[in-house]
């Protein structure tokens, strides 16, 4: 896997008579020469356990032998001591196997271990100082696998030290998250120690440690409600209310302890089969080493990423047949943890990540999973003893837990999209049905999913389909087409079709849909450019509209535009309507129409007219709103274009974030009677606007400048306050529009529920920004 290439799977342009612009170098390989030993060993180590055809103990022994024999080579020494720590961090699924190699090396050439342990422990110290807790965890996991060759209590001493730190932190603050993280690390390290050194002494030490962690692990964390992926309706409980990761771990470990630590999913490549009794003896009697002290920094820090408590999320736990480990089993946590580290560490090569996910069963004990690509329906026919865990379900589950991670996962969401895409490309027959079941679960539960996550689901779903010919079994949701637009399922369908069209075009998407859906894509969506309403004689100010468009088209100077605007103003005054709003509507609509050929056109047109637009936007709240209205109504069939244009208008400060929020959430402009709240594109518009504001503020704060920071902070708070006020009245049903008797068709409860869901999302955003601000204040 080391030299994994970037070959594309598409088979286009096989004939390379003319070099095309897909310049992946695919020249025929030169004849292989025998690579030098360090290079060969590197290659073998990197490929450890990848092939299910090789037997673990043979592979481990042969590599260890080669290392021990060639260890006098300086280059080999250096490369080995560099590679092991790096592999432990970059390919965590292979850690037990690397450890097994090291253990066999120890039985042959014990002095190697002293150098290696020194290397690992000092690297651990370094990472702890930086607050890179995942790296610390990965090093400790490796050391745990080496426990059998460590003197005395070995790694337990380090875990004890970690625990005492955690206690201090937790006592100091109930909102502390580093302590929680440390306890998580301790609990995830214990099983590896017990798999490597299952002695009574280890069991006892583990029991003592777990007695102590119990208090912290069992206490629900203060921030848990904030990051719960579900947002249950009132009077019902979140399905994951009791699934905080560390409390689960604590229970699962206690369960294992009660059964003499079977830890049946963990691989034990250091255990030799019976015929290798000699090697086993050598291993058992190999020299033991003192683990160098790992001292933790005096003041532990969060590191580059803010920490939050974690909740165990699965899209498959509620099935009648187990296709993933149940939350009662330690396997659920151990496997998830290893997969998540793999996914998040290997962000720089999604192909390799996907490969690891597909091959997950190679890295756990034989029999942990059912054979790959076993159809779900066949799980029922399994005997009671055999595992029914589908490796592809476990893999997909892990990626979904990241897609649904609150407040945000480690990487951009599109990374997780791309991992699923690649996995689906590598093993479509195995992965696609698993994804299908995940999609159904998410769809059926969209009513109680956090609204931000519903949107992540929508975005992933449509992006994924765009990579696979937009194929989805729409027939199974046919009954939902008749639901009111505000129903969460219908809202999802409408949002999905719009997103699909944005990545493709209306006609193409229509072709993928069964009859009942056809009506959802009207003729206006198939039109290349929307009509210009002022081309119709009946539209008021039709003549002025046409005239402005003609002027804009030939890039006439502003002096020629002003007279037309003046004419509109005076006519509007005669009809006693707001002159500025009227002229803004005509002008902005004309800009949209003139620029309708492409985003470049409209943006160039806005650039040319920005002074006029800035003046209009600055003049009154009503005019600002009218700019947005004009854009959205011109592009009503393609809200994605409208959103991009508004985003650019925000960049020019032609409209303000407050104006966008106001436009979307107060009043009827984005849809009557609160229907706006159910529209995916309205959420997208508001969400993007808020993200724009908060990320700008973060940039300013991180930049360390003081000028204007207070104003920016105040503006952000004001924005959140305004959203809160607007949304509360929807959520509580006190909005005037809601009270309107015309709208009382049972939709009220739906609107209230949408209001609640919106409210939760933006209250969380606000809380997280406040946390960031107070954090940066204390650290500066």
């Amino acid at each position: 896997m080391a030299d994994y290439d970037r070959r594309q799977s598409g088979g286009f342009n096989r004939k390379r008579r003319y070099r095309d612009d897909d310049e992946y170098d695919r020249r025929p390989q030169r004849r292989r020469f025998e690579a030098p030993l360090p290079v060969r060993i590197r290659k073998q180590l990197l490929g450890l356990a990848e092939s299910p055809l090789r037997r673990w103990h043979e592979e481990v022994q042969s590599i260890a032998q080669a290392i021990a024999e060639g260890y006098d080579d300086q280059e080999l020494q250096a490369s080995f001591l560099d590679l092991v720590p790096q592999m432990v961090l970059e390919q965590p699924l292979k850690t037990p196997f690397v450890a097994a190699v090291v253990l066999v090396v120890n039985s042959l050439k014990p002095e190697v271990l002293d150098a290696l342990l020194a290397r690992i422990t000092s690297a651990t110290e370094e990472k702890a100082k930086e607050g890179e807790w995942r790296d610390v965890k990965l090093y400790l996991k490796f050391l745990a696998c080496l426990q059998s060759c460590l003197e005395g209590d070995g790694l337990f001493l380090v875990l004890d030290e970690l625990f005492s730190r955690a206690v201090d932190l937790q006592t100091a603050s109930s909102e502390d998250t580093i302590g929680t993280e440390l306890v998580k690390i301790i609990l995830l390290t214990i099983p590896y120690i017990l798999a490597a050194a299952p002695s009574t002494q280890s069991q006892q030490k583990a029991a003592e440690l777990m007695d102590k962690t119990d208090i912290i692990a069992s206490e629900p964390h203060a921030l848990q409600v904030l990051i719960d992926p579900y947002h249950p309706e009132q009077e019902s409980e979140s399905p994951v209310a009791s699934l905080s990761l560390i409390s689960l771990l604590q229970k699962q470990l206690q369960n294992e302890a009660a059964n003499d630590w079977p830890l049946s999913c963990l691989p034990r490549p250091w255990r030799m089969p019976l015929e290798e009794i000699e090697q086993q003896e050598k291993l058992d009697n190999a020299q033991k080493h003192t683990l160098p002290v790992i001292s933790l920094p005096d003041k532990v820090t969060t590191g580059p990423r803010p920490l939050f408590p974690e909740i165990y999320y699965s899209v498959y736990v509620h099935q009648e047949v187990e296709s993933v480990p149940p939350v009662s089993s330690i396997a659920s946590s151990i496997i998830r943890d290893a997969l998540l580290d793999t996914i998040n560490v290997l962000h720089f090569n999604r192909n390799v990540t996907a490969r690891f996910l597909i091959d997950a069963d190679c890295y756990f004990a034989p029999g942990t999973f059912i054979k790959r690509a076993t159809p779900f329906d066949r799980l029922r026919e399994m005997d009671g003893d055999r595992s029914s865990w589908k490796p592809e379900d476990v893999a997909v589950d892990a990626v979904f837990s990241q897609l649904y991670q609150l407040p945000t996962p480690e990487h951009k969401l599109v990374y997780y999209h791309s991992v699923l895409t690649e996995a689906c490309k590598i093993a479509p027959a195995a992965i696609a049905p698993s994804l299908g079941r995940a999609i159904r679960y998410c769809y059926q539960n969209s009513y109680r999913l956090d609204l931000e996550l519903s949107h992540r689901f929508l975005d992933w779903f449509t992006h994924h389909l765009s990579n696979f010919g937009f194929m989805w079994k729409w027939t199974e949701w046919v009954d939902d087409v008749g639901l009111p637009d505000m129903h969460p399922c219908k809202s999802f369908i409408l949002g999905a079709l719009d997103k699909e069209i944005r990545l493709s075009f209306a006609q193409r998407i229509k072709g993928t849909l069964p009859e009942p859906y056809q009506a959802l894509i009207g003729p206006e969506k198939e039109q290349d450019t929307p009509d210009f309403k002022f081309n119709h004689e009946h539209t008021p100010f039709s003549a002025e509209g046409k005239e402005l468009a003609a002027l804009l088209k030939r890039k006439a100077p502003d002096e020629e535009i002003q007279p037309v605007i003046d004419r509109i103003h005076s006519a509007a005054l005669d009809q006693s309507i707001d002159p500025l709003v009227t002229s803004t509507d005509v002008f902005m609509t004309a800009v949209c129409w003139v620029g309708s050929k492409s985003l470049s056109h409209v943006l160039a047109c806005i650039e040319r007219t920005k002074d006029r637009l800035l003046d209009a936007g600055a003049a009154s709240e009503a005019a600002r709103a009218q700019i947005i209205t004009a854009v959205v109504s011109y592009w009503s069939a393609h809200p994605g274009v409208a959103i991009t244009i508004i985003e650019k208008l925000l960049n020019y400060s032609i409209v303000t974030p407050g104006a966008v929020i106001d436009w979307a959430l107060v009043g009827d402009r984005a849809g009557p009677y609160g229907q706006a709240l159910s529209k995916a594109w309205v959420f997208e518009l508001v969400f993007h606007t808020v993200v724009k504001v908060t990320s700008r503020l973060r940039q300013v704060v991180k930049g360390g400048g003081t000028e204007g920071v207070q104003e920016e902070i105040a503006a952000m708070r004001e924005l959140f306050r305004a959203m809160n006020d607007a949304l509360i009245s929807w959520a509580q049903g006190t909005k005037d529009q809601l009270m309107d008797p015309v709208s009382s068709d049972g939709g009220e409860d739906l609107v209230k529920r949408w209001g609640e869901r919106w409210l939760r999302v933006f209250r969380r955003r606000s809380a997280i920004e406040e946390a960031f601000l107070s954090e940066s204040q204390t650290s500066s």
């Binding site: 896997m1 080391a2 030299d3 994994y4 290439d5 970037r6 594309q8 598409g10 286009f12 342009n13 004939k15 008579r17 003319y18 070099r19 095309d20 612009d21 897909d22 310049e23 992946y24 170098d25 990197l46 590679l83 790096q86 592999m87 970059e90 390919q91 290997l346 962000h347 720089f348 090569n349 999604r350 192909n351 390799v352 990487h411 951009k412 969401l413 599109v414 990374y415 999209h417 791309s418 992006h463 765009s466 990579n467 010919g469 997103k499 944005r502 990545l503 493709s504 050929k597 492409s598 985003l599 470049s600 056109h601 943006l603 160039a604 650039e607 393609h638 994605g640 274009v641 991009t644």
Partner: protein, 201 residues
């Protein structure tokens, strides 16, 4: 790569072999004008100084070359997909020199280098408009920069292609021209286009 230590697996955010080979070539014969190269060397670039500074011009690159697009893929589609990696600062569609219609490539500029790297990692090699697209870091668009195109005005790769690629005008143009010399093409005829098409700030 970025950390200075070689990773145990290759990185997808490294510039392609194309970029390096082109740069080496330029260094060797001073003026790297050769249209045969895949992505069509720049026909005009600021006169290359004899001694280039060792600084990597892609170190802070925020622009990506995007290739293998369909001729029918719109800016809006590119926006929709590429915004998933960050806000787009500017998008420049590559246009056929004569017809002024999209000819299958574009440049996407982000606000940050990280966004561009993420785009390499997460979007390069995935599909847009049902074609596998290709991304490559690019030192950036400068006013007046010309993108080498073939005799027919499109990308060189579309001159002699002997596979039928519907999204890129069917057969290679040189071949097509031979075969259908007299048949009128009406599809891409576009009567009005603006000078500033594709120039976006």
């Amino acid at each position: 790569m970025r950390t200075g230590v070689r990773s145990t697996v290759d990185r997808l955010d490294a510039p392609s072999a194309y970029y390096h080979s082109r740069n080496n070539k330029r260094r060797r014969n001073d003026h790297g004008r050769d249209g045969k190269d895949g992505k069509d060397g720049d026909t005009e670039m600021q006169d290359s100084k004899p001694e280039e500074p060792p600084e990597d011009p892609l170190r802070n690159a925020t622009t990506l070359y995007v290739g293998n697009l369909s001729f029918y893929t719109t800016e809006e589609q590119v926006y929709e997909l590429f915004s998933k990696c960050g806000e787009i600062k500017r998008l420049v569609m590559g246009l056929d020199r004569f017809q002024k219609t999209p000819c299958g490539f574009c440049f996407v500029e982000y606000y940050t280098h990280q966004d561009a790297l993420d785009c390499m990692k997460y979007i390069g090699g995935t599909k847009l408009d049902e074609r596998v697209i290709r991304t490559d870091l690019d030192p950036g668009f400068e006013e007046g920069r010309q993108y080498g195109r073939g005799k027919s005005g499109g990308q060189v790769r579309d001159e002699y292609r002997d596979d039928f690629d519907e999204g890129r005008g069917g057969l290679g143009r040189a071949i097509q021209a031979e075969r259908m010399r007299d048949s009128e093409r009406n599809r891409e005829k576009d009567t009005h286009h603006e000078d500033d098409y594709g120039r976006l700030r």
